[in-house]
C-alpha cells in the first residue's frame, strides 16, 4: 500500500456506498411492487426534480468522462475542451425531444426507446435493430467505467484485480435486489463527493501553481487554442463543432441515459432538469482544466508517477495531480468519488440493457413470460452484462475498450432518426428507417476502420473543399436522408401507418 491514509478513506467510502445500495431496496418500497419491471428497471417513474438531477447527472457524466476529458486536455490540448459545447448542446435537445417521449412512454407503458419505435411503426425488426445497437454500444461503455475505477485503484498502489472484482460482486448484488433505486440513491453521495473534490481542486491546485495565468502560460502554444484551418479546408473548426454536435445528439439515445430520463416523474421534471443539469457541465469544464494543471505541475516527469504514466498513459494525469497536491486522506475522498462515479453509471447501464433485452428481444422473439418472469429475465441479463464487462476488462487490453467505445458512439447515433424524428412525425416508414440505420452503421464502421479504429474525424472532400467532420455526424445525416427519401416510396407500396399504436394525444 503506497498511500495508506488515502486507501483507508477510499475503502471506507466504497463500503458506505455499498451499504446504501442495499438500503435502497427498502427505500420507497411501500409505493410499488419491485417484482414488476417498471419498478425494478425504471424506479416506478417516480423520481422528482432533485433525485432526477442527481441520477441523470451521475449517469451522463461518468467516471470515464472525469478521467478521459482531462486526459485529452493533457495530451491533445484545446481539442479536449469540446466537452463544453457538447454538454451545452445536449440541453436544448433534452428540452424539446424528451418531454414528448416521456408522455408517450407513460401512456403506453414503454420502458425503453426501442419499445417506443416498435409501437410507433408496429415493426419489431426495427425495434430489434435499435435495441441491439443500444446493448452493443453500452457494453464497451460499462467496460470503460471499470477502466476508470482500475486507474484510481492502481494509483493507490493496490495491485491485482481483487478490489475491482469485490466491488462488482456487490454491485451485481444490489442491482439484483434494488434495481434502479440503488444507483439513484448512491448517485446522491457520489455527486456530492465529486462536487467537493472539483471545487477543492480548483481552489487548491491553482494556488500552488501560481494562479490560472501561470497555468495557461505553461501550456505550449499549439495546445492552447485550436490550430487555424489551412487554406481550402475548414480544418479543426468543423472537426471541433461536429464532435460537439454529434456527441450531443448521441448522448440521450444511450440506453442508460434514456432510462434515467424515463424514470422521471413527469415532463416538467425533465424540463426543469434541462435548466438545472448544466451545473454538471460547469463542473466538467473545471475538471477538464485539471489536465492543464497536470501539465503545469509537471507530474509527468516526477519519478513517483513514472510507473503510473507508463501503465495508464494520459489517463493517469488526474490521479497524479490529485496525489501530488492533496494530503493523502483527501486524495482518498477524490478517488472514492471517481470509483463510485464508475459504479453508478455501470449499474444503470446494466439495468437499461436488461430492460431492452427483456422488452425488445426476449419477449418479442422467444418467450412471452409473466410479469414476474419478465423481471427475472431482466435481472439475469443485468448480471450477465456486469460479469461480461468484468471479464472483458481483465482479458482484453483497455485500448480496445476505448476503440469500441468510439465505435459505440458512431452506432448509437444511428438510432437518432428512428427515435427522435418519430417523436414529432409519422411521415416516415419503418422499413425506410431500418435501411437508413443499416447504411449509417455500415458506413460509420467502414470509415472508422479506415482510420484504424483510432480517429473519430474523417476529412470529407466537397467540391474541392476539405471538411473534416466527426464520422458519427456525417453518417447519421446520410442515414436520415435515406430514411426521408425512401419513406414516400415505401409508403406507396406498403403503407405502415395503420400499425401505429400511439395517438396524437399521447404526446402532449
Amino acid at each position: 500500500m503506497t498511500y495508506p491514509s488515502a486507501s483507508i478513506v477510499f475503502f471506507l467510502l466504497i463500503a458506505i456506498v455499498l451499504v446504501l445500495g442495499f438500503i435502497a431496496g427498502r427505500w420507497k418500497s411501500g409505493e410499488g411492487n419491485i417484482g414488476h419491471i417498471e419498478e425494478w428497471g425504471l424506479g416506478g417513474r417516480r423520481f422528482g426534480t432533485w433525485i432526477s438531477w442527481f441520477l441523470i447527472g451521475g449517469d451522463a457524466y461518468t467516471a470515464y468522462t472525469f478521467i478521459a476529458i482531462p486526459a485529452l486536455m493533457f495530451g491533445a490540448g484545446a481539442l479536449g475542451f469540446f466537452a463544453m459545447p457538447y454538454t451545452v448542446l445536449i440541453y436544448p435537445i433534452l428540452y424539446v425531444v424528451f418531454p414528448r417521449l416521456w408522455r408517450v412512454a407513460r401512456a403506453k407503458g414503454y420502458i425503453t426507446g426501442p419499445e417506443f419505435v416498435r409501437g410507433r411503426y408496429g415493426n419489431r425488426w426495427l425495434a430489434l435493430a435499435m435495441g441491439l445497437t443500444g446493448i452493443l454500444a453500452t457494453m464497451p461503455y460499462i467496460a470503460l467505467q471499470l477502466v476508470g475505477m482500475q486507474t484510481v485503484i492502481g494509483a493507490l498502489g493496490l495491485p491485482g484485480h481483487g478490489p475491482l472484482i469485490a466491488a462488482f460482486i456487490v454491485l451485481a448484488a444490489f442491482t439484483w435486489t434494488a434495481g434502479l433505486r440503488a444507483p439513484a440513491m448512491i448517485s446522491i453521495v457520489k455527486d456530492l463527493l465529486i462536487y467537493l473534490t472539483v471545487i477543492a481542486a480548483i481552489i487548491v491546485i491553482p494556488a500552488e501553481l501560481g494562479g490560472f495565468t501561470a497555468i495557461f502560460a505553461k501550456v505550449p502554444a499549439p495546445k492552447l487554442i485550436l490550430p487555424p484551418p489551412p487554406p481550402g479546408s475548414s480544418g479543426s473548426y468543423s472537426a471541433y463543432a461536429s464532435l460537439a454536435l454529434g456527441s450531443a445528439m448521441a448522448l440521450f439515445l444511450y440506453p442508460h441515459t434514456m432510462t434515467g430520463i424515463l424514470s422521471a416523474s413527469g415532463p416538467r421534471v425533465i424540463k426543469r432538469n434541462a435548466v438545472l443539469l448544466p451545473a454538471y457541465s460547469l463542473l466538467l469544464g473545471l475538471l477538464a482544466l485539471i489536465g492543464f494543471m497536470a501539465l503545469a505541475a509537471g507530474v509527468k516527469t516526477m519519478p513517483q508517477f513514472a510507473a503510473g504514466f507508463a501503465r495508464y498513459g494520459a489517463s493517469f494525469a488526474v490521479p497524479a495531480v490529485l496525489l501530488n497536491s492533496f494530503p493523502g486522506w483527501f486524495a482518498g475522498v477524490a478517488f472514492g468519488a471517481i470509483a463510485i462515479g464508475a459504479l453508478v453509471p455501470a449499474a444503470i447501464m446494466a439495468i437499461a440493457s436488461a430492460n431492452i433485452f427483456t422488452r425488445d428481444i426476449w419477449t418479442q422473439f422467444f418467450h412471452s413470460p409473466t410479469q414476474r418472469g419478465e423481471t427475472l429475465a431482466a435481472k439475469i441479463f443485468a448480471i450477465l452484462m456486469i460479469i461480461g464487462a468484468l471479464i472483458f476488462i481483465m482479458k482484453i487490453p483497455s485500448t480496445y475498450a476505448v476503440q469500441l467505445q468510439l465505435l459505440g458512439g458512431m452506432w448509437i447515433i444511428q438510432t437518432f432518426p428512428a427515435v427522435v424524428f418519430s417523436v414529432f412525425t409519422r411521415a416516415l416508414n419503418g422499413w425506410a428507417l431500418l435501411l437508413g440505420w443499416l447504411v449509417g452503421i455500415v458506413s460509420a464502421t467502414w470509415l472508422v476502420w479506415q482510420n484504424h479504429f483510432t480517429g473519430a474525424i474523417w476529412p470529407f472532400h466537397i467540391l474541392g473543399y476539405t471538411v473534416p467532420c466527426y464520422i458519427a455526424l456525417a453518417t447519421v445525416v446520410l442515414n436520415g436522408i435515406i430514411a426521408a427519401v425512401l419513406s414516400p416510396l415505401f409508403q406507396m407500396v406498403a403503407n405502415d401507418r395503420v400499425r401505429d399504436e400511439t395517438a396524437v394525444s399521447d404526446y402532449v
Partner: protein, 64 residues
Amino acid sequence: MIRILLLLVMVLALIVPFFNRVEPSLFGFPFFYWYQIIIVPVGSLLIYFVYRAEERDAGEEARK
C-alpha cells in the same frame, strides 16, 4: 416562438471561429476557455426563460 432561444444556445456553442482566440483574456483564462465556460450558465438561463414562458402560457390556457 420563444423556442428560438434554444436555437440561440446551439449557435453560441457552435461558432468555433468566433471563440477560437486567446484575447481578451479574463482572470488569466484565454478567451477560448472563459467563453466556453460562460455559455454553460448562459445556456441554462435561456432554457429557463423558455420554460417559464411556456409554463405561463400553459397556465393561461388552462384557465380559459
